[in-house]
């Protein structure tokens, strides 16, 4: 660590290098911390989590009971023991606009926390005003809404891509409230949609027909390309599976932070890494990534580390893989039941995961242990409270004499 600091100070190294090295070290030491807790509000499983990008302070969670909760992640008490409090709740008894069935996806408005969007199995997508906790807009659909996503980088448009039971991907415009833009091409339910964090017009959609389409929303005709797991080599597979991204339903999508790569997970227990510009399968082999989810799977990639890590919910634990090496780094165990979603906090390198056991667990990097030198200096300053071997401590004589 000192060598990194010195190199940065003297100009030998780029400032980014120290940050990246320390971020990577912190991610590799993630574990459950008994000092950090998240308020338990949900009575049923938690389906989705989202941390806002502006401050990284507020987190949204959506549950199977239709309840949406906002938590404050920042620790303003001066104690290490901290519970992330729920600031406000869109609850069943309190709010009459609450979703009737399970909330599948929540997302903060990418540019400020005044607004968030939630979509649910009650076939609606609601745009909420955070101040009043009332929906400012409501979109009705014909089938269950599995997922939605707003582009994190878009300035020119405010389109929300919505994936429902219908094979057509719908784009809803927040500015005008219109929903006429439709993307056709899939033949099954759309389980996951994701905008690229690099270009505001590129959208990826994943469906139960085993295909992933990449769209340019400015084009009138169909998708740009579909992802093919065999990279065009039609000989490796049976004829029905030609041009598919997975051998089963594709239920998870995640772009890397720079938008250059796309990860997909499927019910064939595989995770694949694709080059998002060409659609080429990089053929990184992650092994068996257990995936039994019938809906979308929400997984995430770390930001600011080198090498990057993928956090995938696998049964009742979260598996951490190296992004480009495919190596399983560790399994984060702590949940009592299936984990459904996880979200990475890029500033503090923390991971929040939520699951069917109604808990949100915070995985915090382990702090460095204080060095022996610190203890000695403390003892000099402390005077009587020297650090002595507990075997020699006087535990029997009484103070009152």
């Amino acid at each position: 660590m000192l060598s990194f600091l010195y190199a940065r100070q003297s100009g030998l190294d780029d400032p980014v290098r120290l940050r990246r090295a320390e971020s990577t070290r912190r991610v590799l030491s993630l574990e459950l911390n008994h000092n950090r807790d998240v308020d338990r509000i949900h009575g049923n499983g938690i389906n989705t989590l989202d941390i806002e990008v502006i401050d990284g302070r507020y987190m949204l969670s959506g549950g199977s009971d239709g309840v949406i909760v906002i938590y404050d992640l920042e620790n303003n008490s001066k104690k290490p023991q901290y519970t992330c409090k729920a600031i406000c709740t869109v609850g069943r008894s309190v709010c009459r606009h609450v979703h009737k069935f399970s909330v599948e996806t929540v997302q903060w408005y990418p540019h400020d926390t005044g607004m968030f969007v939630s979509s649910s199995f009650d076939k609606t997508m609601k745009v909420w005003d955070t101040e009043t906790l009332k929906p400012a807009e409501e979109f009705q659909f014909d089938g269950n809404v599995y997922c939605h996503h707003m582009s994190p980088v878009a300035r020119k448009h405010s389109l929300v891509a919505v994936g429902t039971k219908d094979p057509k991907v719908q784009l809803c415009d927040l500015k005008s409230g219109s929903r006429i833009h439709i993307l056709q091409g899939h033949r099954g339910e759309i389980l996951s949609v994701r905008w690229s964090p690099r270009y505001d017009h590129i959208l990826a959609t994943a469906s139960t027909d085993s295909r992933v389409h990449i769209w340019d929303v400015r084009r009138a005709s169909g998708s740009l390309f579909t992802l093919d797991q065999h990279n065009g080599d039609k000989s490796k597979t049976s004829s029905e599976a030609v041009n598919t991204a997975h051998n089963g339903r594709v239920n998870g999508l995640c772009f890397t932070a720079d938008g250059l790569h796309l990860l997909t997970t499927g019910t064939d227990d595989r995770m694949r890494l694709w080059n998002s510009a060409t659609g080429e399968n990089t053929l990184v082999n992650y092994g068996k990534v257990v995936n039994e989810s019938r809906k979308g799977l929400k997984f995430t990639v770390s930001r600011g580390c080198s090498p990057e890590f993928v956090f995938v919910p696998c049964g009742s634990s979260v598996a951490v893989y190296g992004l480009h090496s495919g190596e399983l780094i560790t399994m984060l165990r702590g949940h009592y039941n299936n984990v459904d979603c996880c979200e990475f906090h890029p500033d503090y390198q923390e991971l929040y995961s939520g699951g069917k056991d109604c808990n949100i667990l915070a995985w915090v990097p382990v702090l460095r242990q204080p060095d022996i030198e610190d203890e000695e200096t403390n003892s000099k300053r402390g005077g009587t409270h020297a650090a002595i071997n507990p075997a020699f401590e006087d535990a029997w004589s009484s103070d009152e004499d």
Partner: protein, 277 residues
């Protein structure tokens, strides 16, 4: 270049070279030739290599490299990796380019076996050629099969062929294609396309699936659904298990049908719930 496998116990340093060929040769020795009356070439499954090497991606790269000469996806030079794991879980990884420019093209053939879309069989090309010609000796289809093998082995890396390719590129006629199917070198995949296959491999697949199920059953029935690998290797094989125990163990570890846990008494294999088999 021979592979290096030096284990130094006191410094806990393990040298291993990512030479797939030596692992394949080891796995080939586990294959029971006598079981099929020597009519089958030794077959190894690609995922058995995953149980011997940690990095699945590099195994895939080397297997693809060695059976095709026109891969545009792999642009890195094939290199040896030497991983030294030191005592406090720090790992130093060195990689440098291969010293011998061994052209491995056309040395290995890959087949789609059919019972699992992810299970690929690997056979050394010379073994395959020898056994196929041995099986064809004396039959009328020998000439066509020989012609097919000479076209196939040096350059082709496909697992399946469609009619266009057979007629135009390989210049076979329809009757010759029928002869190839009869001899077992091609299997029907779809109307107008065929898988490359190993003749007489039906028995192999049958015994393999039965044996895999039996070995998995042994693991599942053990107390707590887990068993030490050394103990499993020592168990008496039932009549269902025709192959060597180690062959099946590499298979179930590589296909991730059991979880490998390192313990102080060795590797523990724990049955993974949710297996379809």
């Amino acid at each position: 270049m021979a592979s290096m496998h030096i284990v130094l116990e006191d410094t806990h340093a393990v040298w291993c070279s990512a030479d797939i060929r030596s692992s394949l040769q080891y796995l080939v020795t586990l294959f029971s030739r006598k079981l099929f009356n020597d009519s089958l070439p030794p077959v190894v499954l690609k995922h058995q290599l995953y149980s011997l090497h940690n990095d699945k991606t590099s195994v895939d790269k080397q297997v693809v490299r060695s059976d095709c000469n026109k891969c545009s996806t792999w642009d890195s030079v094939q290199s040896h990796f030497i991983i030294i794991t030191l005592m406090h879980s720090e790992a130093l990884v060195f990689s440098f380019p291969r010293q011998n420019e061994l052209r491995e093209t056309g040395e290995l053939l890959m087949f789609q076996l059919g019972f699992d879309s992810e299970a690929f069989a690997l056979v050394f090309a010379e073994d395959y050629r020898a056994k196929v010609l041995q099986g064809e000796a004396g039959r009328g289809t020998l000439g066509t099969v020989e012609k097919f093998l000479t076209k196939l082995i040096p350059s082709c890396s496909d697992l399946s062929f469609n009619k266009e390719k057979m007629l135009k590129e390989f210049l076979f006629t329809d009757s010759e294609i029928t002869q190839l199917v009869k001899s077992g070198v091609l299997t029907v995949r779809d109307a107008g396309s065929w898988w490359l296959s190993i003749p007489n491999s039906g028995k192999f697949i049958k015994y393999f699936i039965k044996g895999r199920k039996a070995v998995l059953g042994m693991v599942k029935k053990s107390k707590y659904g887990e068993i030490l690998q050394t103990e499993l290797e020592g168990r008496r094989t039932t009549s269902q298990v025709k192959f060597q125990m180690k062959y099946h163990i590499h298979d179930i570890i590589g296909a991730e049908l059991v979880e490998c846990i390192q313990t102080t008494s060795g590797t523990l294999l724990r049955y993974v719930d949710g297996n379809v088999n």
